[in-house]
Structure formats: C-alpha cells, structure tokens
C-alpha cells in the first residue's frame, strides 16, 4: 500500500481488513452494505415481475386460482412460515453476537439458522411430494376434474415456479451462511470487523420476506373456498 491515505482514527478497526482501494474501514462497510441493498432491490424486481404476472392471471381467473389454492396444505405452510420467521430472528441475533464480538454465539446461531433453513426445505419437499401424489404437478402429472383445468394448472405453474425459485434462493442462502461460518471459525471476525455477517443476514431476511408474500398469495386464498 504505497500511498494509501489511511484513516486510523475511525474506531480502532483492523487496517488489514480494509482493502487497498478504500480510504477507511467505514467507507468499506458502507459500500458493502449499500451494494447488498441494491442487489436486494434487483431481487424485488426479479420476484416482482412474477408477482405482476400472477396478479394478471389471478385477476382474470379468480375462481380457478381459488380452487388451486384450496389444494395447499395450510398446516405445513403455516409451520414453514413460522420456521422462516424464526430463522430470521436467529440470523438477526447472530448479527447481534457478531457486533458484540461473541464468536461462539455467532457460530451457534449461524448453525441454528441453517438448520431451520434445511427444515423449511424438507417440509417444502414433503409438500411437493404431496402435490405429486395428488397429480397436481404440471408437466409431470397433472389432472383436474373440473372445467377450468388449464387455468388451475396455471395456478400450479406459478406455485412451482415461484416457490421453486424461492427454494433456490434458500439454498444459496445456506451456502452463503456456510462460508460465513467458515470464516468465523477461521477467526476472521471481531467486534470491529463483521460486515460480511451483516451482509449475509440482509440476504437471508430478504428471502424470508419473499416467502411471507408467497404464503399470502398461494396458501391463504383457498381457505374459505374449502368450506
């Protein structure tokens, strides 16, 4: 670092963690956080386009989409929602632990968060298997006795497309947390330097937010139809 203008008065950070092209640790932290937030904005548009398409068809075929929604397993769906919200809490507590520099708690909470994520995916798999047994899996095995077969199938296409994409994001999230856990075990983090934990937590909680909306549009609309 030949001509680095380092600002070492900014709160006793580790200069070795400041990459060469940043002037201060604070600048690096703010850049990384902002980068993740902008990425999440792109994710809003990514899933948002699917929500728009879903809305258009749902407005067009409210009956068929209600009928499709009635086939959802509300018990498993609600449990999964609770699990994801809990994992967001453990993730937020993990950030808290990293902020106070408690590495042991950080690691425990990261493992807990990942486990909750895995339980979510397992339950999701059980649901998919049930849909398969019910012959409600478009492109693989789809049967519907009523009149609006293709429109009910449309509901399931969106269901599998959006929840599948969400599950993919969960897998990526678990991978990211594994890397964070590895770095924590390697002793990379301290009370002064823990930005990657916070950045990963943003992603994890965002995936949770997406699920909250998926739950609302897929599971909750068929509840009163069954009665």
């Amino acid at each position: 670092m030949p001509d680095m203008v380092s600002n070492l008065s900014g709160g006793g950070h580790l200069p070795s963690r400041v990459r060469d092209h940043f002037r201060t640790a604070e600048q690096q932290r703010e850049s990384e956080m902002l980068g993740m937030w902008i990425f999440l904005a792109t994710e809003v548009m990514f899933f948002g386009a699917l929500f728009v398409a879903f809305t258009v068809y749902r407005t067009g075929y409210p009956q068929a989409f209600g009928a499709g929604s009635a086939d959802m397993n509300i018990v498993l769906g609600s449990i999964n929602t609770a699990i994801l919200i809990t994992s967001s809490l453990t993730m937020a507590l993990a950030v808290h632990a990293s902020e106070v520099g408690n590495q042991r708690w950080l690691q425990v909470l990261l493992v807990l968060t990942m486990l909750l994520g895995c339980v979510f995916l397992a339950i999701k798999g059980v649901e998919y298997y049930q849909h398969y047994l019910d012959h409600k899996m478009p492109a693989v095995w789809f049967e519907y006795s009523g009149a609006d077969g293709s429109k009910v199938q449309m509901f399931f296409v969106f269901y599998f497309f959006m929840t599948g994409l969400h599950a993919l994001h969960m897998l990526v999230g678990i991978g990211v947390l594994l890397v964070i856990l590895g770095r924590s075990l390697a002793g990379s983090f301290s009370a002064e330097y823990h930005t990657p934990v916070a950045v990963a937590a943003l992603y994890w909680s965002f995936v949770d937010i997406i699920w909250v909306f998926l739950f609302a549009i897929f599971y909750l609309q068929g509840l009163h139809v069954m009665r």
Partner: protein, 544 residues
C-alpha cells in the same frame, strides 16, 4: 493478448499496461482499466459478428426476390443481428469499456467499489456470449430479438432456449456492472468531489446504472418463463392454455424500452464531455443536464406500452402510454439544446471526437423526433413494424449510441493507450461513417412510410432503388467502422506519445499520466473546482 511496451514517461512509476505482462495478469486482473480493455476487445468482436449478419441481410435485399438466402435463413440473420447487437454490443458498450475505465478516475478513486465483482461481470458476460454464439452455430434462432410468444415458446423449431439462456446469463453481468457503478459513485468520490462538481459523464452513467439494476431482473425472469414454458410445455403465455401473450410483451418491454436508455444515456455521457472540451466552455446549464439524465432514466420506465399499440393493448392504456412517451422528449430536448448552447460563442475546434459529437447531435435529433411520430397513436398504427421503425431505432442506436461510443473511444484513446491516433485519417473515417450511416438508414424511413414491412426477405419491385441505396450505404458504413479498428491498433504501437492532457480538458482523469499508473493517481486527488472549469485550469497552468 500482447501489449507493446510503452516508453515510460516518467521513470518513477509503471503504467497499468506495462505493469505485469502475460495472459494471466490480464485475465485475472481486478484493475478497472484492464477490465475495461477486456470488455473493449470482446464487444469489438461481437460488433463485427453482428455487423457481418447485417451486411449479409443488406446484400440479400439487393434484389426484390432476395439475392442470397432462403426465408428461414433470413429470419435467423435478422434475429442474430439483433441479439448480438443489443445484448452483446450496445448494452455493455460504453458502460463496460469507457465506464469501467473512467468512472474511478473521474471521481478520483483507485478502483471501483467491488473490483472482483467487476472482473466476474466480464466472465459472466463472456459465458452468456459464448452460450448464445454456440446456439447460433448449432442452427440459430428465428424469433426476432424480441422472442415474442407464442412463436418462441410453441412453434419455433430453432434453438430458442439456448439463446435465451445466454442472454439470461449476460443479464447478470449488466446487474453487476450497474450495482458496482452506483456504489462507486455514492461511496468512492475523492475529497471535495461533491455531486455537483462531478462531470456530467458520471451523472449519466449513474442514471444508466439505475436502469441496468432495475430493469434487467425483469428481462431475466421473463426469459426464464419463456424457457420454462418451452421446455416443460406448460401454460404461462400460451393462449390455448389460458395464457396471455400480451403479458409477455408487457414484461419484455418493461425491460427492453428502458434498455434503449441503457444504450443512449452513456452516449449522452460521452457527448457531454466532448462538447465542452472542444468548445472551451463549461457545459451550458449544468444542473439541468445533470437532472435530465435522471429524468430520462425515470420517465423511460413509464413508456413501454408504446411498443404494443397494435398488439391488443386497451385503448385507454394506450392513451396513457402515448402521453407518457411524449414526456421523454422533454429531458432529451433539454440535453440537445444545452449542448448546442454550449457551443455558442465557444472557440470550437473540429477534432475527431467533436465531429462524432456533432454527428451525434444531428442523428439523435432525427431519431428522437421520429420517435415522437411513433408515440402518436394514429401514425404508429400506420408505420408499426415497417422500415420506418427500423430506421428510427437505428438512428438512436447507431446514429446515437455508436457515434457516441466512437467519439468517446477517440477522445479517451490518448488516455487509454498513451498514444495519439492519426488525426487526418480519423476525421476522414468520421465523415465516412456519417455519410454511410445516413445513406443506409434515411432511405429506410421512406421505405417504411411507403409500407415496406420489417423482417421481410422479399419486397415489391418498386422498392428496389431505395433498398439498393441502403445496401450501398451499409457498405460505406462498414468501411467507416473497419478504418478506426485498423488505425487505432496501429497507433497503439506506432502513435505519437500523447502526454497527460492532449485536449487541455478538465476532469481528474486528465491530471494523471497517460497511460495511468495502476492505482490511477500518485496521491489521492482533492477536487477544488467545479466541472468544466476551463478558466480556473488556465490560471493554474499559468501559475505552474
């Protein structure tokens, strides 16, 4: 890639070109300047591939029945021309090359905020490009670059999914670049570099990045749905399964109309630097020009429906989109008037970059004004899907974006390579490009107005004269593009050393040596002047 050794201007530092040689130091570099050159090499390749397809089309259209190809081959030619030119040349053109090279230098930073992400964006871009090229070699795509359903999902027998996957992948490189630029401009500015001291180039690139980041994900998901529907044969857009093809067009154009601004805003960025420098005057109405970039980026998101006026869009929605489309003219006109006013009473010199800039002004104005024709519901019904539309968007994309790109490459070539290009030859080729361009595309306005539909491989005999004119123009245009390629490569080795600031321009990038050192500046610069402060610069030079 070999880079000839430049004689070091000052023995005390090593410039970014001669620092570490060999393949790997280039392919694994995180230096924004080297990544800019990687992008330059790639998009130049894609440009000539896309241009080759265009030339084949023009040759085919010399005769009314078509001179060279069958109908299906012709469909593949215009599709591949469109895909390559839009996604693998125009979208990454100025942001990937000049944006990468210049943004950190203009704000006085050592690099972009995320150098590794920047390198990753190039690899992602190349992966997408190779996947797309591969699906073209395997047999090509025939859907048009727009991938309209249900043709693309149900009926086309070509390699639609492969090409769509390539574009899907390349989209992520756009997002990475945009994200990197936004964070860099927010967080990496040198001390004293306030928002309103930034060169307009940065404002425009910032606006471009906003569009990249907000629009590209929608394209990605739309293509993913097309791929999904095509591979699994389930109903998403297919009308026979309850789908709505117009919904695809909504989603596609929500990206692809703003994408036009991804192409033209960076060209405007370049023009906003060239015109003040060669008029020796600060840009007229700095604040208005700065905000008009953001205005174009925002309003650009509200107008996509004008691509769908005859596609089944409801009449009331069409009226709203028509009105909003007219609004885009306001920030665009602000820019054109302010650039013109910058030249008034300036001491204008006619170097090559300025020739391109003035060419841009005229061609962009024609392209923009004919855009207003197309925003008008009545006229649009008459000229939809004719050569009028083809001519209109080529005036924007080639007359605007490519002229801006070439102007920018000439303007910053001394900084990039450290060498001057041959001025006489460069002026000549700028003139050839201008003449060739107009000869190619102006006849297409007339053709379209007379009723020649786009994407047709044959036409009635009475259109032949105009088609021959257009093909002649395309040949001239081709010469105009090959010339700069030759003399720029030549000057890389044999050009005269350029020195720090050959144009006597303002801006931090001109304060460092040419080519710049790896970390751009020997000392972190401090910005003390507003942008385009030619008076202040003159005083400083006199003191020094």
């Amino acid at each position: 890639m070999t880079t000839p050794q430049a004689p070091p201007a000052a023995p005390s530092h090593i410039d970014y070109l001669s620092e570490r040689q060999g393949i790997w130091p280039w392919l694994l570099t995180t230096d924004h300047k080297r990544i800019g050159l990687l992008y330059t090499a790639s998009i130049t390749g894609f440009f000539f591939i896309g241009g080759f397809f265009a030339l084949l089309m023009r040759l085919h259209l010399l005769e009314p029945k078509g001179a060279l190809f069958g109908l299906e081959t012709y469909n593949k030619l215009f599709t591949m021309h469109g895909i390559i030119m839009v996604w693998f040349f125009l979208i990454p053109s100025i942001p990937g090359t000049l944006g990468n090279f210049l943004i950190p230098m203009m704000i006085g930073a050592k690099d972009l905020a995320f150098p590794k992400l920047n390198l990753a964006s190039w690899y992602v871009f190349m992966t997408g490009g190779i996947v797309t090229l591969y699906s073209m070699l395997r047999g090509g795509v025939d859907t048009g670059w727009t991938f309209y359903v249900p043709f693309s999902t149900t009926y086309s027998t070509a390699y639609v999914a492969g090409a769509a996957i390539g574009i899907f992948i390349a989209g992520f490189s756009s997002i990475m670049t945009g994200l990197n630029f936004i964070v860099t401009i927010h967080r990496m500015r040198a001390p004293g570099m306030t928002w309103f001291r930034m060169p307009i180039f940065l404002w425009s690139m910032y606006a471009t990045s906003l569009v990249l980041v907000l629009a590209t994900p929608v394209l990605a998901i739309t293509l993913l749905m097309v791929i999904f529907e095509r591979l699994f044969r389930v109903g998403i857009f297919d009308p026979s399964l309850g789908g709505d093809p117009v919904l695809f067009q909504h989603m596609f154009w929500f990206y692809s109309h703003p994408a036009v601004y991804i192409m033209i805003l960076p060209a405007m960025a370049v023009i906003s630097e060239i015109i003040p420098t060669f008029s020796r005057k600060p840009i007229f109405g700095y604040t208005a020009v700065a905000y008009s970039s953001l205005g174009i980026a925002v309003v650009g998101f509200l107008v996509w429906g004008h691509h769908m006026f005859v596609a089944g869009l409801s009449v009331y929605s069409a009226m709203a989109f028509s009105f909003l489309s007219y609004l885009v003219a306001i920030p665009s006109a602000i820019k054109v008037f302010n650039w013109t006013a910058t030249m008034v009473k300036g001491s204008v010199s006619w170097d090559t970059p300025m020739l391109y800039a003035i060419g841009f002004l005229g061609l962009f104005t024609i392209g923009g004004m004919t855009g207003l024709f197309l925003a008008a519901l009545g006229i649009d019904v008459h000229v939809t899907d004719t050569y009028f539309v083809v001519a209109h968007f080529h005036y924007i994309m080639v007359g605007g974006a490519v002229m801006g790109y070439l102007g920018g490459v000439h303007y910053w070539w001394p900084k990039i390579s450290g060498k001057m290009y041959p001025e006489g030859l460069a002026r000549l080729s700028a003139l050839i490009v201008f003449i060739g361009f107009n000869l190619t595309f102006f006849p297409q306005f007339i053709l379209g107005y007379l009723g020649m539909p786009r994407r047709y491989a044959a036409y009635p005999d009475e259109f032949q004269f105009l088609h021959v004119l257009s093909t002649a123009g395309a040949t001239i245009l081709g010469v105009g593009y090959i010339l700069p390629l030759c003399y720029l490569i030549w000057s890389w080795k044999y050009g005269k050393p350029a020195g720090r600031n050959p144009w006597r321009a303002t801006g931090l990038e001109w304060q460092t040596s040419s080519p710049p050192p790896s970390h751009n500046f020997e000392v972190t610069p401090v910005c003390t002047h507003p942008a385009y402060d030619f008076e202040g610069m003159k005083e400083e030079l006199e003191l020094a």
